[in-house]
């Protein structure tokens, strides 16, 4: 009971792990590229959560700074990813990741 009601860093880490797993499952199993990209966002957010939780644990701000950098990174990733997606859709008229096999012989 005590461990449930007393929120420690571990709780946040477990939450982050759950999100991370959900993201990984999404990336590995979905066919729709848009949803795959969103799953990647989930993964990045899980990492962010861990970083901020650690930052709180150690009383420093480095974790938060890293979270900010990761959010920046996520923005860049989303922009480029969606750009690729649009280019792909224009060529293949689909957003299905199984069709992204132009490099396969």
């Amino acid at each position: 009971m005590e461990s449930i009601l007393h929120i420690t860093t571990l709780h946040y880490l477990v939450l982050g792990a759950a999100l991370f797993l959900l993201g990984v499952i999404g990336v590995l199993t979905r066919r729709n590229v848009v949803i795959v990209l969103m799953s990647i966002e989930l993964i990045l957010n899980a990492v962010n959560l861990n970083l901020v939780a650690f930052s709180r644990m150690w009383g420093g701000l480095h974790g938060q700074i890293f979270a900010i950098f990761i959010i920046t990174d996520a923005a860049a990733e989303a922009a480029v990813g969606l750009g690729i997606l649009i280019a792909f859709f224009r060529n293949k008229e689909t957003v299905n990741i199984d069709e992204v096999n132009l490099l396969k012989w």
């Binding site: 649009i86 859709f89 224009r90 008229e93």
Partner: protein, 384 residues
């Protein structure tokens, strides 16, 4: 002018423009119930994002068979029907019809009637342009001019109401002249109106002409060249804004327009802004004409000798006048009976509407609205 057959060469009406993204193009149905299509015009727009790839006008939602009705009415009885075509310029419609039948009958209205006709028709031109200005500005998003123009249009309608009892579909003229003598104080009231109206045009121009957003919204929008106008049969202010100095009041003078001194305002670029300027200038010219007509209003009879039962000799006649929206032509075939064999109307709105596709290609959706507004169509006239 140039050969009409060759002038469409620079227009490619068949192949649509290549879309920017290969996404599915969007087909949008603008109208028949749409606030900016001025009635029941239906425009099928093919869009790429916001860019217009092509459009098609679907008309006929207001078709009342006016031309067919004409074949079953006597010449006199058909006269009020033409008022219902372009209901914002009913007087001009009546003038065109009366003059056509007079031509068929070989009679001419007496000078006083001619003068009153010119006064009322030019007042009607002002009223029509006012309504156009208000709705056009409303389409582009300026809501205030509408109320100003309607306030001032009311003064014209008051003069009509006093003259013939009706405000919109006036049935002001009769074949051979006028039925009603002008009421007491008519001249003074017209002069008062002119006095009142001159500063009002400046007021409208103050609201719009130099308004940055208005200029940005209308300059280089819906450009059509004079050549294309002629090829498509576009007339009226739209043609004149494209730089063609063609006004039936000067080119083929009817009524007694040749007695009055006025200019034909023309534009340079044929864009929406030029059409706006041309119409504003036309209002000023109309004021000039009315001023001259009302000052030189002769005394005399108002009705020519016209038989009670009109039976024009078999034959056909085409007569056209410069209505506020362009060339309004009537083609009447008589078989010698009391009823016309065929009445055909060449309405300006209907012909001008053809140019919509040419003017809108490659523009944005918002420009389609502006162009529909600047063409100044009245669906009653388009569908008849």
């Amino acid at each position: 002018m140039t050969d009409p057959n060759s002038s469409l060469s620079n227009l490619d009406l068949e192949t649509p423009e290549k879309p920017f993204l290969d996404a599915n193009e969007l087909v949008i149905n603008m109208g028949p119930q749409h606030p900016a299509t001025h009635g029941v015009l239906r425009v099928i727009l093919r869009l790429d994002g916001e860019k217009v790839l092509g459009l098609e006008c679907v008309i006929g939602y207001l078709h009342r068979g006016v031309e067919k009705i004409g074949e079953h009415r006597t010449y006199t009885m058909f006269n009020p029907y033409v008022d219902r075509m372009d209901y914002v310029a009913a007087v001009s419609n009546g003038l065109g019809y009366c003059e056509t039948v007079e031509k068929l009958l070989n009679v001419e209205a007496p000078p006083r009637a001619q003068h009153v006709r010119v006064i009322l028709t030019e007042l009607n031109r002002i009223a029509s342009h006012q309504l156009w200005l208000g709705t056009h500005a409303l389409d582009i998003g300026a809501i205030t001019p509408l109320f100003y123009t309607f306030r001032d249009r009311e003064e014209i309608l008051k003069i009509y109401e006093k003259y013939c009892g009706a405000r919109l579909t006036t049935h002001a003229f009769r074949i051979g002249g006028l039925q009603y003598e002008t009421y007491t104080g008519f001249e003074q009231e017209v002069k008062n109106f002119l006095q009142f109206f001159r500063p009002k045009i400046d007021e409208y121009e103050e609201l719009l002409t130099t308004n940055r957003i208005w200029v940005e919204r209308t300059k280089n929008v819906g450009i059509i060249s004079g050549k294309d106008c002629i090829a498509l049969g576009v007339t009226g202010p739209v043609l004149r804004a494209s730089g063609v100095k063609w006004d039936l009041r000067k080119a083929q003078p009817y009524a007694n327009y040749k007695n009055f001194d006025f200019d034909i305002p023309i534009g340079e670029n044929g864009d929406t802004y030029d059409r706006y300027l041309v119409r504003m200038a036309e209002m000023r010219q109309s004021v000039r004409i009315i001023q001259q007509a009302v000052e030189a209003l002769p005394e005399g009879p108002i009705m020519a000798k016209v038989p009670k039962v009109m039976k024009p000799a078999a034959g056909e006649v085409y007569h056209s006048i410069e209505a506020p929206k362009g060339e309004l032509g009537y083609f009447i075939v008589s078989d010698g009976s009391t009823q016309p064999y065929r009445v055909r109307v060449r309405p300006p709105s209907f012909v001008n509407l053809q140019a919509l596709d040419v003017m809108c290609r490659g523009q944005l959706v918002a420009d389609v609205i502006a162009v529909i507004g600047t063409l100044d169509i009245v669906l009653g006239e388009v569908d008849r």
